[in-house]
């Protein structure tokens, strides 16, 4: 039963829980067993919290037995990217500068997961401070693609995508600035969505570039992504960029789409993204997808975004500039690593420089330096 359970989608597991055919403790144990069996090879997790996950599972089982009305995904275990703070669980963002730090509070989305009764299996690996597209730039070593351990799982959220692809977790949380949810999803054959800016609270996400950062679902099916999105999304008074309006009916749309009937759905194809630079096969598969959508009744329209030509240059300015400001707080004073200079006076300023020099990896240093330079007037 245990091996079969880990192969099911979250929606299927939720149905098994609702009908009493399995328990959250059984589900959680099955996934912890799977992690123990494969994660030495995949390295999707930086930290596994077996005890905490099983305790949360038992509590959800108790609530269900007591007749409490629970959200659909209650009891389905989940993995959380290590850039999202979790009270009582180590959070490093893949960096040595936060090694051993245990946050004193939960991100809003984690609070919502806990309140809904989803056991948190552990924290997943990522490129340091989400800066990368391969999960090779974690200070704690690379994550491998479960389909082929010699290949990358994408990044920066390679840990979450690999955990879901390797059946170590039915659900995971990712975050994205410039593709860190969707690109690992594509590379591991899983589903990832970057929500509309402001759709999911960022309170408790360790920020890289605040004009672009968002959290989102990482799953194996579109319906699971929609269910998780609905669960963690919606307005949060603690995030000033949070959209005040409620989310649309995402799960209902996913269920409708799953019938194979897409009449009335209009899909835009961006003309400017049809250019050069794709690996052979990628554009063919994309064209096939368009034809599948058309065959299912969707209306395909070409749309134009003439300023896309400037997008990469804008990203190369906005991302490091904001990252250099956001990472200024890692200064060796209030949390994480503190390193004293090897010689000379031990002043606050010199301790900051020594700490950041020792605690940040190459890519983080590069982006902070680029961003500081971009901020320079003139």
């Amino acid at each position: 039963m245990s091996a079969e359970l880990t192969r099911r989608s979250a929606a299927e597991l939720a149905a098994l829980l609702a009908s009493g055919e399995t328990s959250s403790v059984e589900l959680t144990r099955a996934h912890l067993d799977r992690i123990a069996a494969v994660d030495d090879a995949v390295a999707a997790f930086l930290h596994v919290d077996a005890e905490g996950a099983l305790a949360a599972a038992a509590e959800t089982d108790r609530r269900r037995a007591a007749g409490e009305e629970l959200p659909e995904l209650a009891g389905v275990p989940i993995a959380v990217k290590d850039v999202v703070v979790t009270k009582g669980l180590p959070t490093t963002a893949g960096s040595k500068i936060l090694e051993g730090w245990v946050p004193p509070y939960d991100a809003t989305l984690v609070e919502r997961l806990r309140a809904a009764g989803l056991p948190i299996l552990g924290k997943t690996n990522m490129d340091e401070f989400a800066m990368g597209s391969s999960t090779e730039f974690s200070a704690y070593g690379p994550t491998r693609n479960p389909w082929d351990l010699e290949r990358i799982p994408g990044g920066s959220g390679g840990g979450s995508a690999a955990a879901v692809a390797a059946f170590e977790a039915p659900l995971a949380i990712g975050t994205a600035t410039g593709g860190s949810i969707r690109q690992p999803g594509a590379v591991t054959g899983t589903v990832g969505a970057k929500p509309t800016y402001g759709g999911i609270s960022r309170y408790g996400l360790i920020a890289m570039a605040s004009s672009l950062d968002q959290a989102g679902p990482v799953t194996r099916t579109v319906l699971d992504a929609a269910l998780l999105h609905e669960l963690i999304g919606g307005h949060d008074p603690r995030d000033a960029t949070s959209l005040p309006d409620p989310l649309g009916p995402l799960a209902a749309a996913a269920r409708e789409g799953a019938t194979g009937e897409l009449k009335g759905v209009r899909v835009g194809v961006v003309a400017e993204l049809g250019g050069e630079g794709y690996q052979s096969g990628v554009r063919d598969r994309f064209a096939e997808s368009i034809e599948l959508l058309r065959g299912a009744g969707a209306e395909i329209v070409e749309v134009h975004c003439p300023s896309f030509e400037y997008a990469l240059a804008a990203y190369y300015l906005i991302m490091p500039a904001e990252a250099s400001s956001n990472l200024a707080k890692f200064d060796g004073m209030r949390f994480g690593l503190r390193v004293e200079p090897s010689d000379g006076p031990v002043t606050a300023e010199r301790v900051m420089a020594a700490t950041r020099g020792a605690g940040f990896g190459d890519e983080v240093k590069r982006r902070v330096i680029l961003g500081t330079y971009a901020h320079k007037p003139g």
Binding site: P104, G198, L317, P320, R334, F360, I369
Partner: protein, 99 residues
Amino acid sequence: MPTLDRNEVARVAALARIDLTDAELDRLADELQVIVASVEKVSEVATPDVPATSHPLPLVNTMRADVPEAPLAIADVLAGAPESEDGKFLGPQILGEDA
């Protein structure tokens, strides 16, 4: 395009409060060109008469109700600090010995 040298990188690294090795300074000198090139590219369209955009959606800061909430427990916060004393963060001196 202005060329960037190691001294420029060292100055920026000092502003960013990051100790860099000589090898890192050399490597980054080349990479700063990305910023120069990106500024030039964006400047083709982001001319002075284009108003600044902070957000693509018609969203202004959404303020929460002004209701007091319990702050984090001091002991929990200080538990993650490199050093603390008397319920406060403890850091090195701000000024040098002679100040």
